[in-house]
């Protein structure tokens, strides 16, 4: 009765797509409330900080300050959406809604479930950074067409923060502890990863610490793409993102697996 197993259940890509499709369906169900804010947020940011601050700060790192912000903003948007999706979102699906238990009754494994979800968070990172460049692009604030590389970096950023957030989700004891993650880690990163001001302006002894922030590397890749300034050192940023994603993702999946398969 032993059959060749491979032909008997859907291949990996189909399983991952199934999980991705579930998230896609849920997200697109409320298209207005889910799809509009990614476009409004950069508008508000540009109006509030960009227009106001630009009166006082003219240029930053050799470009108009508003352009400097506009080339970092898509990446923080990707970071926050992926972080929310795989912290609060994952936790609620795991502990409150029991969505995973339902999905695990189908021919889907824990790895499919979590990797599919990380890919979905990457997709959201792509979409959110795309929304930002559409808005800032409409104001002519970013170079075209090279800024079209941004959503790709947004995808990588989303995947990286999804992996990290899953690790955090596997560690927290209750949903309130995510506050530490957001105010203690993500918010500082927003300010010290070269989005608001160049890292060169940091005191020398702090600069190595900024290099430990995953966001730093994503922002650097994004700006390099925007201005088509490709340098071999960018490979280090890519490598950092790849390693960080792999390690955080692997640890997170291993730990969550223990909660899902007992």
């Amino acid at each position: 009765m032993r059959n060749s197993e491979k032909t008997l259940f859907p291949p990996l890509a189909v399983r991952l797509y199934g999980v991705w499709f579930r998230h896609f369906r849920v997200y697109t169900k409320n298209l207005i409330s889910n799809g509009l804010p990614p476009f409004l947020e950069p508008l508000i940011f540009l109006a509030g900080i960009g227009l106001g601050m630009s009166r006082y700060i003219d240029t930053m790192a050799g470009m108009p300050y508003i352009t400097f912000l506009a080339t970092g903003l898509p990446i923080t948007a990707a970071m926050f959406t992926a972080a929310f999706e795989c912290s609060y979102g994952t936790y609620i699906r795991l502990e409150f809604d029991h969505v995973y238990e339902g999905m695990l009754a189908a021919p889907v494994g824990v790895h499919d479930l979590l990797i599919g979800e990380i890919i979905w968070a990457g997709t959201k990172g792509f979409f959110f950074s795309l929304a930002v460049i559409i808005v800032v692009g409409a104001f002519g604030l970013i170079p075209f067409p090279w800024s079209l590389t941004t959503p790709l970096i947004g995808f990588l950023t989303g995947v990286m923060f999804a992996a990290l957030s899953m690790l955090i989700t596997s560690i927290v004891k209750n949903i309130n502890q995510f506050n530490f993650y957001f105010t203690g880690f993500l918010s500082p990163m927003f300010f010290f990863s070269g989005v608001i001001f160049p890292l060169e302006n940091l005191p020398a002894f702090l600069r190595p610490f900024a290099e430990l922030f995953p966001l730093t590397h994503a922002v650097r890749l994004c700006r390099a793409g925007d201005f088509a300034q490709f340098h071999p050192s960018l490979l280090i940023d890519l490598l950092f993102i790849a390693l960080f994603t792999a390690v955080a993702g692997w640890l997170g999946i291993m730990r969550l697996k223990k909660k899902l398969i007992r």
Partner: protein, 308 residues
Amino acid sequence: MDPVISVSSVYKHFGPTCAVKGLSFSVPASLCFGLLGPNGAGKTTMMKMVYGVSQRSAHPPGAISVFGFDPQHQSLAIKFISGVVPQENNLDEELNVEENLRVYARFYNLPSKTAAARIKELLEFMELTGKRRSGIRELSGGMKRRLTIARALLNNPRLLILDEPTTGLDPQVRHLIWEKLRNLKRQGMTILLTTHYMEEAFHICESIVIMNKGEKIVEGHPHELVGAAIEPFVLEVTKPEAFSAVSSSLPPSARVERSNDIARIYSSDRTALQELSNRLNAGEYYFRQSNLEDLFLKVTGSTLNAQQ
């Protein structure tokens, strides 16, 4: 023909507690097999090990085979040809009835046309067609259960695994679900279910294992078990003082089980029990045929509900 499921001396430990203790059974094709027992007997744990969402303990070593696959390593193959109805409905509350099924159909790689036809058919079968656009929160408990069963049937499974299919549902819904399960069985599907309702096992199972505290107590056909292992009639005396009044004149063949305030007098002598009941007031006794519940009481010394 090989059994669809065979389980041999399986153990499951959660830390110091042992939820399943050396359980063995096998489920032949095309019949309904029930794991019966009170809450905490280890039924759900056993079910989860069958489809690989729980892993059996490595020591002492046991074995599980489902269609020749080991759930420890090949759970995807098992879940592809089996439908699983978990104890909790765990439907996706962010999606409506039809979308729940459509999202699930992706996991089986059903082409969208096939999926649409299958979903239509299943909604009809489960009498949910009118609710296909409804949100999950708008559904009654019985509808949620039927939808969860429909979800498990999407891929035309050869084996249907149900963990407490009708717990918490009203009798009408329960009968409806039993009718559907009998219908599926007639189509050749193998069914494995857990229940703590003796009545449920009696209605739809051809074969049962009664479990208590992780162990198998008895195994067999429910009707035959009741016929062979226990006296066919029982007089339940619901008041202790009423029992003391008749306790001196019990028929010689009688066996008495007492739990809480209820005394159950078992005997194969129907007339003797009836005569005894004549000496009691209405409302103090209940005369009936023995059932699986009585069998459970006999072998474990406790009622099914006592441990809930």
